[in-house]
Structure formats: C-alpha cells, structure tokens
C-alpha cells in the first residue's frame, strides 16, 4: 500500500564518495513492503522547487523497521537532505513503482547487476533478496565510476557471496574501462560455460542504453530501471513518459521504473 509518511531519520551518513550520503529512517511499513526497484518520492523543499524527488530504496530491515536511501547531492532537494540531522523528519510517499526488478527464478541463472553511481542501490537491494531466496545463486555486480572513490552502494555484498566487479574510467580500481567492456567479457565467459545469464541494470541513461543494447545483441534478457523526471511518482501526471517501440508512451513511475530492455525506445 502506498502511504505518505513523515519518518524520523535515524542517520544521514556521508560516504567516502564526495557528496554521497546514506540516510536511514524509521518506516516499518516501507521496510516490510518495498521491493527492489521501488522508490520513494521525497519532499525536501528548497527554494522555489515544489515537486518531490524520487529515490530508490537501498536497504530495508523489516524487523528493526527501518529503510534507507543512498543519494548524491546535485540540486535543491538533495542539498536540503544533506543538511538533515538524525531526528529530522523525512516526508515521503511510497513504496512507489509498479514494475520492479524480477529475479530470474532459474536457480542456475547467473544474475549480473550492472550499475553506475546512485543506480547501484536498488541493485544491491536485489542482490540481498536473491541471496535470501537462494543461498547458492551466482550473483555478480559490475559497477562503474569515473574513479575508485565514486564507486558506491556495494557495501556488505561481498560478505553475502556477491562477486564485485568494479570498473573505473581511470583504472584506479578493478577493470579499466566502461562497465560494458567488462559485461561483454562476463557474458562471453557465461556463454562459453553454457551458463544462463540475466542482466539487471540501473544507472546513467547512456550506460543503461549501452547495457541494454549489448544484452539484446548477445541474446541475454535484461531489465532496465529507467531514470526519467518523475513529477508525481504515483501515475497521475503522465510526465514521466518512457517511449516504447510501438509508438506509445509508458509511465516511468507506475508502468516502471523497471522495463524489459527490449521494450524501451531510447
């Protein structure tokens, strides 16, 4: 059920990556109900900006009743958020998102997450859910960033047996190059090994397009979480149009944010 919640924040911790924060807040219903790929619409005011801003759910603890988001500071909303202290209230609507990341049910599947920047958090959430459902599932996270300290969102994944494949433009960590370079290698290895693979991606639009195109080319199924401006997040404004190949427009918020890569006309 979608709720508007005024949640007390529990922590708002800067990460090593400059201008990146993880905010946790008390939200038992969200923690119980949110699915990977879902997001919350945050009202964080700031100047003459009136609309809410979407942030993916990063992690949840249904028992303890908290959830978190990982955000990077760009404009008025995230600047306001960055100033919040534990105890300050976070006004959000959620969980939002009509179509979420759906893990391939095949237990032998190699789940390959390809993420960049603040696109990694929902993939981390997905990793944890896949692992919880299947202790043996093979999971890899290929995450990209310009340089080492811009890689965010993968904390704690290695500990649950997720293979991390960092990629940096400057070679300061892991693979030297774009995520698609490493993805191509991983898909080739899987193919050689007759290992079924499945790609899930979230990050900057050009990256996701490249990942989607590559997956389609290699015949590997791929889900993309579209990043479009979402004025309402709940399906009432039609402002979040995602073009489909059939010439129609889907709503990024309620028909997505996750779409099969094949469906999207970039």
């Amino acid at each position: 059920m979608i709720r508007r919640t005024i949640a007390p924040t529990l922590s708002n911790t800067p990460l090593d990556a400059p201008n990146h924060f993880v905010m946790t807040f008390h939200a038992p219903e969200l923690a119980r109900e949110a699915l990977p790929g879902q997001f919350i619409a945050v009202a964080a005011g700031g100047g003459m900006q009136i609309l809410r801003r979407p942030f993916s759910v990063y992690s949840v603890d249904p028992e303890a009743g908290w959830a978190s988001i990982l955000y990077s500071v760009y404009g008025p909303a995230t600047s306001t958020m960055a100033k919040m202290k534990p105890g300050d209230e976070l006004d959000f609507i959620g969980p939002l998102g009509g179509r979420v990341f759906e893990a391939d049910p095949d237990p032998s599947c190699h789940h390959i997450m390809v993420g960049g920047g603040y696109g990694v958090p929902p993939l981390a959430f997905l990793c944890r859910n896949i692992r919880a459902a299947n202790p043996n599932a093979r999971i890899t996270v290929i995450s990209g960033g310009r340089t080492k300290n811009l890689l965010v969102g993968t904390d704690g994944l290695e500990e649950i047996g997720v293979t991390l494949e960092p990629c940096t433009n400057d070679g300061s960590c892991g693979y030297h190059g774009l995520v698609t370079g490493r993805l191509e290698e991983v898909l080739a290895e899987d193919q050689t090994a007759h290992q079924p693979s499945y790609v899930y991606t979230c990050g900057p639009t050009p990256m996701m397009k490249a990942v989607g195109d590559l997956s389609i080319e290699k015949g590997v199924p791929c889900q993309v979480s579209m990043e479009v401006f979402m004025p309402c997040g709940v399906g009432i404004c039609m402002g979040c149009a995602v073009a489909r190949h059939d010439g129609t427009y889907a709503r990024g918020c309620t028909d997505g944010p996750v779409f099969p890569a094949r469906e999207v006309k970039w």
Partner: protein
C-alpha cells in the same frame, strides 16, 4: 454545523473541492492516499474519441514556484475510460467530472454523447483550452468558437456542462459570457498559462514540445484575477483553480467568486490535499462564524 455543499448546475458536491483534470489520473492511482468517498468530486484526465499517445518526452520541467507541462492529452480514449476506469470509480460515493477535449464541435459532442448514454459522468468539463495540442487553444481564445462548441455539446447532453477556459487571452469576460449564453452550466478556470523553458547549457528547449502550460503557486495571482473577472461577467458558477496548494489559497478563490475549487499541481506533492483543503475551509468558516460556504463566495471587497 457548517454547510460545505455547493451546486454546479444539477451537480451537488458535498464540499467545494475537486481535482484539476490531468492532475489526479482516474482516482484509482491515488486511492491508497485519499478517501475518494469524501472528495467533493473527482475530475478525471482528458478523455478523447480515440486513444492518444501524447507528446514526446521531456514533457514536464520545474520552474520557479511551478511547472510547465506538455503532456498532450495522452489517454486511452472514451471506450477505454468507460470499460476500464469508470467501473472502479463508480465504486466510490463521489461525483465524477469528465474532461473532454476535441478536434471540432462534432468530436467534442461525440464524447459528450457517449458519456451521457453510458452514464459515464456526473458532469462534463469541455476542455477548450489545452495549450499542448495543436488547435487546443483556439476555442477558448475566441468567444464565437467557444459558443459553437458549448452550444453543440449542450444539444448532446442534459448533464451539467462546464466550459474550461484559458488564461491566455486579452480579456476572459467575453469568452465567459459566450460560454454562459451558449448554455454552459458553469465555468472551470484557469487552464495552464502558456510558457516555455530553455536550457542555457544545451541551448535547447527543455520540453520536446517547445511550449508547455504553466501551473502551480506561481500562477495563483493570474488565476485569481481571471476568476474574479469571469465571476463579475457571468451568473453561472465557477470552479476556480490555478496554484491552489492549501485551504487558504482555496478560500481566496472562493472569495474571488468561485463556487468550487480544484487542486491541480498540488496533488503531485500531496495526493491527499483535496480533503485537507476541504477540512481547512470548514475550519475557516467555523472560526469566522459562517454557517454556509456560500457566505464567502465572491465576498472579497
């Protein structure tokens, strides 16, 4: 006891707060967030003869104290509305206002007739003022064209008929009068104010459609004046809208002469806002010893 109910033609609303068309979907989307049984009326997204895909993206940009939209009337068409959207909404005890755009008077009348025969609406709002489709604006910028559409639709239905007017005109009064004379039971105003936004970095328009409609707090002073002027020119009731975010804003529109109000852009920030506004109007009336909302309609001095 405070009487909050108002009438628009033969439509009775339990409180004077409805939603701006295109800003509340078909109600179902936000049913988790607001009790549709308590709302004055739900005004649904524009519904056309045939399905429409809408405009390319980006369709919305934020501006200082507002937003520009160029949705382009994306909707599933009248038959989809009747079969997919209406049954759900009819499960609630709330009047339904259907917003109807059209290419020409016959096109308007077709949807109006279908709605009437299918009992798909409790009132119909003729959207003769959408700035985001070609020719969308023409009707409400010209008293004659306005009269033509309203008169044609008047012949097509006995349902309460509202004409939704545009602020993008030199003087709204002759247009309001033309709609009244042609048989409208009420007016809705304002639709969005036409505008544009440019990205200095890319040197491109921010909207794929180049122009869009401005809504939100930034247009409230414009909307209030149009409502006040239209109210001075006609006897039929007005649904006032444009930047209403709070009960105080809504009260300003009632004082300016609106019989009812609609929250538009505010729903994007708070889909429960219509009921908060209704409750706030009630408190205001109570605090000021009024017993009936009609006592403040047009009461500004």
């Amino acid at each position: 006891m405070v009487d909050l109910s108002v009438r628009i033609g033969s439509l009775t609303m339990r409180n004077p707060v409805t939603t701006g068309s295109g800003t509340f979907g078909f109600g179902s989307e936000v049913a988790d967030l607001i009790d549709l049984n308590k709302i004055g009326a739900v005004c649904v997204k524009a519904t056309t003869t045939h399905p429409r895909t809408g405009n390319p993206a980006p369709r919305i940009v934020e501006t200082a104290g507002g937003m520009l939209n160029a949705i382009g009337l994306q909707n599933g068409g009248i038959e989809n509305y009747l079969s997919e959207k209406l049954p759900y909404l009819r499960g609630f005890d709330c009047p339904i206002i259907v917003n109807v755009p059209g290419e020409d008077p016959e096109d308007f009348a077709y949807v109006v007739e279908r709605l009437t025969e299918a009992k798909g609406a409790d009132a119909i709002e003729l959207n003769i003022s959408c700035p985001n489709v070609s020719h969308g604006l023409d009707y409400a910028t010209d008293p004659k064209a306005t009269a033509e559409v309203v008169a044609r639709c008047r012949r097509a239905t006995t349902l309460p008929l509202l004409a939704k007017l545009s602020p993008n005109v030199t003087d709204i009064r002759p247009i309001a009068q033309a709609a009244e004379d042609a048989g409208a039971d009420g007016l809705s105003l304002i639709n969005t104010v036409i505008g544009t936004a440019i990205d200095a970095r890319t040197r491109r328009f921010k909207l794929a459609n180049v122009t869009g409609g401005l809504s939100g707090p930034s247009i409230k002073p414009i909307a209030l004046l149009h409502v006040h002027r239209a109210a001075s020119a006609v006897k039929i009731p007005i649904i006032g809208m444009g930047g209403i975010m709070s009960a105080t804003d809504a009260i300003e529109f009632l004082l300016a002469g609106a019989t009812a109000v609609a929250a538009g852009t505010a729903n994007f920030i708070n889909p429960g806002v219509a009921l908060e506004i209704a409750a706030g109007i009630e408190s205001y009336l109570r605090a000021n010893d009024f017993t009936d909302v009609s006592q403040i309609i047009g009461a500004v001095r």
